[in-house]
Symmetry: C2
Subunit: 319 residues, 2 copies
């Protein structure tokens, strides 16, 4: 696999990104190629300082950068030589198999939707995170911010996408899909979750187990938790708040340490024609390393083909 | 003040409720009267066992109970001699000033809306909780479950209600009201929060400070956090999950201990013609004590008159 990383994106770019790429190199298979996309004149001195040969990477030189504060669509179109635009261009031409960035999130979404494009049949792509369960297994939560308003048919597809991800990337057989709600009974919730429950309850597309409450988010009763991007984003940022408070109060705990964003390893965008991950703006070298490794895992899982296959079945079931 | 408590409501009723009432008695002013509403034949033996004279309470004997699993509206109408129905009847006749129960939440809402009634001008009553801030102050979050779908004008009123509560019960001058959202910029969020921001941004009814993210829920940048009941309920139950995990992992911390539901002291219903609080079904004696004390504080704050006064101004401003 050829794994691309945007060296120019993130609050501590390019240094934190190059250091993270060096860390990732040591854990990647020798069959994988790490493609650094960014300003060669900034990358080479950092590699030299770290005594790492540039030959261990494929460096693709870019001359421009989309800044964090720039308008995503405008910047993406105005800066074809930016690291993000070049990354998506390479994805499109299949010169790389995966692309990650801790840079401008909006620009990453623009690239995903308008350059790489959604998989035909997908109404709306979404973003997801892996959640650590209390029993050391993992679950996933989606959407976490891309679709603040999500219709029932969109949420239904999130269930399908999440199920395929959990089965192929997390290796969970017949993953349990739950709908995030404020009660477990079918009639509970808001208008959207009530209608979504009706769509999901007899599905054969995935293993729907019913409504799940946020108090059970970390238990092993569910593998894939489906919600709109508004709710998912609110949940994710509350996890961040708890982690921050815990650290501030000098609480150290093996399990709770898993909530450190560094260990979560970036946010995959599901439902598009490639493997794309978005990292936290403040990404450290460890966070970048984990994002690169996760993007490699997703590419190796050949998720795309499996989603396309499932979508054919889904379209037949839901004509 | 005459403070009523439903002795029959809750998973550990009547015992936990009577024990909680005894604890509350020691902290209430001698001018306050505690009214125990429930089966006298069950209450008296517990008081005797605890060596507490029944004369210290006003005991109102009831012969029926609305069970946790019953349909709220049907049970409320079918059981006029149940402790919840009797409590609301006493509230309506102003024989008590406040009423709390850890019993059937739906029946408590039915009583609040159809027996006590919303304050004229209030579109939808809501439920709220007090959140402990990291600097030892308190903030509030509303709605936490009553309105899973809330229109912008309803959310606007939650801002008004929360502001009056924070000012009068928590004694915060000119409380900072924030709209819970997934970004701080005006254009962020879902359709409802975007429209709500527009309604709130130039308001003179309360001190609107803009959007607030869930990562800042416990910071002192905001006193009143407004959201729909779906999002609020999800947040509240995630707090519950974190607290449970913390206890399970033997983490003890003074600040995080404040997230123990026992210390939160029940959920006031705002926007109705009386003081009504709902407790957690699993309420312990300490939780009941804190709910009784909170209901006393709210009654003493004369919230109702202040909300009515603010609503007159609000109706003039929003004809």
């Amino acid at each position: 696999m050829r794994i691309g990383i945007d060296v120019m994106g993130g609050d501590f770019a390019p240094r934190a990104i190059v250091l993270g790429a060096i860390l990732a190199l040591n854990e990647l298979s020798t069959k994988d190629e790490l493609v650094l996309i960014g300003d060669k004149n900034q990358i080479l001195p950092i590699l030299a300082e770290q005594n790492v040969s540039p030959d261990r990477f494929n460096i693709v030189h870019t001359t421009d950068t989309i800044e964090m504060c720039e308008h995503p669509t405008k910047a993406f179109n105005k800066k074809p030589n930016s690291s993000i635009a070049v990354g998506f261009n390479m994805l499109k031409k299949k010169q790389i198999d995966a692309f990650s960035s801790a840079g401008n999130t909006g620009a990453m979404l623009v690239g995903s939707i308008y350059s790489v494009n959604p998989i035909p049949g997908i109404i709306r792509p979404c973003t997801m995170v892996t959640l650590p369960k209390e029993n050391n297994k993992s679950g996933i939560l989606l959407d976490v911010g891309t679709n603040p308003d999500a219709r029932p048919d969109v949420l239904y597809q999130f269930g399908l996408l999440g199920s395929i991800y959990a089965e192929n990337v997390l290796n969970i057989k017949n993953p349990k899909v739950g709908l995030l709600n404020i009660g477990t009974e079918e009639e509970k919730g808001n208008i959207v979750t009530q209608a979504t429950f009706k769509l999901m309850k007899n599905t054969k597309d995935f293993n729907f187990i019913g409504n799940v409450e946020s108090r059970d988010l970390f238990k092993d009763i569910v593998d894939v938790i489906v919600c709109d991007g508004f709710t998912g984003n609110i949940l994710l940022k509350q996890i961040e708040a708890f982690y921050r408070i815990m650290k501030k109060r000098n609480i150290n705990d093996d399990y709770l340490e898993k909530f450190n964003y560094e260990n979560i390893g970036g946010t995959p965008i599901l439902g598009i024609n490639s493997t794309v991950l978005i990292g936290h703006g403040i990404s450290s070298p460890i966070a970048i390393k984990n994002m690169i490794l996760l993007s490699g895992n997703i590419s190796h899982a050949k998720l795309l083909g499996k989603i396309k296959k499932a979508l054919i079945k889904y379209t037949q079931n839901n004509p």
